[in-house]
Amino acid sequence: MDLTRAKIRDLRCALDEKKISAAELCGEYLKRIEEQDKKLLSYITVTKEKALFDAEKAQKLIDSGKSLPLTGIPLAVKDNICIDGVKTTCASKMLENFVPPYNATVIEKLNAEGYVLLGKASMDEFAMGGSTQTSAFAKTKNPYDTERVPGGSSGGSAAAVAASLAPAALGSDTGGSIRQPASFCGVTGIKPTYGRTSRYGLVAFASSLDQIGPIANDAHDCAIILNAICGHDRHDATSSKTAVPDFTEKLGLPVKGMKIALPKEFYSDAIDGDVKQSVLQAAKELEKQGAILTECSMPGLKYAIPAYYLIACAEAASNLSRFDGIKYGFRGEGRTYGELIVDSRNKGFGEEVKRRILLGNYALSSGYYDAYYKKALALKQEIIKEYNEIFDACDVILTPTAPTPAYKIGAQDNDPVKMYTADICTVTVNIAGLPGISTTCGYTENGLPIGMSVIGKRFDEQTVLQCADAFEQVFSPAAPKL
């Protein structure tokens, strides 16, 4: 069976029609991983035995005619999502040997569908970065050009899907970590509304911004995974009780009359010409299908980067304090408790993680709190307000996903400011807690994918998916040649 860019719904048919067994399917993917992933390093851990065990279990469900949409479907899971008994490293030396004793809620939900775990996908250390080059174990390469980054932080998940080393994967998105790598790797990824998926079991980076979501070959497959993983969870007080619809429901409906807003600040000179042109062309295509394009403005965008980094790092500094070498993770040396902690953290954390912890503590420390952290919270309220005003007059917003296509490995090394400002297109969506999807809208001359983002109203993933899907119907993606 040709697995190149195979869709979940096609695999579903093949499994249900017994054209292939769950074990065979998972075996094919494992074989591809074994052959190809040496070049890409998209996985940190490949769970071969568990995968085959999961597949056998899934087959029984299929054989008894009780298969669910994800029964027997192999998936990769970002390595910051806890799976009972499976090493969860967050791509950090700090958690090199950490084996969680419990499952994240999204994993429980996938288990209930009978999914098959292929392995844990690489990422930036503790999801802090946009290149997957801060991973302590697998600095993933872009399948379209292995000298380039796959984006990040869910770079392993995106690269694995792009290279057909998994039909789909789970990622997490704090400031663009699903959408930006999806765009760099030419696949589709959605960050759901904040509160749509449970964060229980997702190793926290920034709790008020983090959200788990799927990366897949198209919007339709993303919708299928969302159907499985969304919903209120009693273990996560920030998960919403808003009713979960069938996310595939509006797929295929015409976008005629859909109002698409283009905020002018997202099309400034800070965005590559190629990227801008490609996204605007996609907008024209949607217009051709009957959508109504409008221009709008988001003045708060100019403060978005500091607002995002102050909030995210403040929360991260606190979230990452628990890594002290005592309860789990890397244990350094020291005669006293104080010495032991400092040594464990010095050796366990990478440089970018340390910088963000320092920044977070700076923003929260006495004397700076009002000027930085509190100001960032004020900005958050302003950005929410501006989005609300835009959505008063439109259904979705269309922006580039990243200012550039995938850049060369090493291009942003030792330049945190450059790294941070590259997140400009994605962070406001997290700040406002909105759903946002990135799908491929074109390729550069060199064949690098360009992504566009469709942003929707809170809990309106359906319209976001509908819009992305409408574009995908007329767009021919090009799989990478490895």
Binding site: N97, F98, V99, P101, R234, A237, T238, K241, K302, Y303, I305, P306, A307, Y309, L310, A317, S321, D324, I326, K327, Y328, G329, R331, G334, R335, T336, Y337, G338, E339, L340, I341, V342, R345, N346, F349, K354, R355, I357, L358, L359, N361, Y362, A363, S365, A371, Y372, K374, K375, A376, L377, A378, L379, Q381, E382, I384, N414, P416, V417, Y420, T421
Partner: protein, 94 residues
Amino acid sequence: MAVDMKTIEHLCGLSKLSYDEKGMEKVMGEMGDIIDLMDEIKDFDLEYDDTKDGNEIRFSDTRQDVAEGSFAPEKLLANAENTDGCYVVPKVVE
């Protein structure tokens, strides 16, 4: 720029991190640049009102007080240096 050695040392204390002399030099430069970027927010002059976040829940949405089973200690301690069912810490002086 605006970040001196003393500030970085204070932040290291709060963060439980430390740098050698060379590392300190480097991180001071990087943090200076980062804080310059963050300083852009100072131009924004609206106040934060914590009652207007709109993320509050109702009292009735909180968890009912029901005790459920705990975890086996050995399962919780599996990732830790432990003895007598406890986590081992270098001696703490009070």
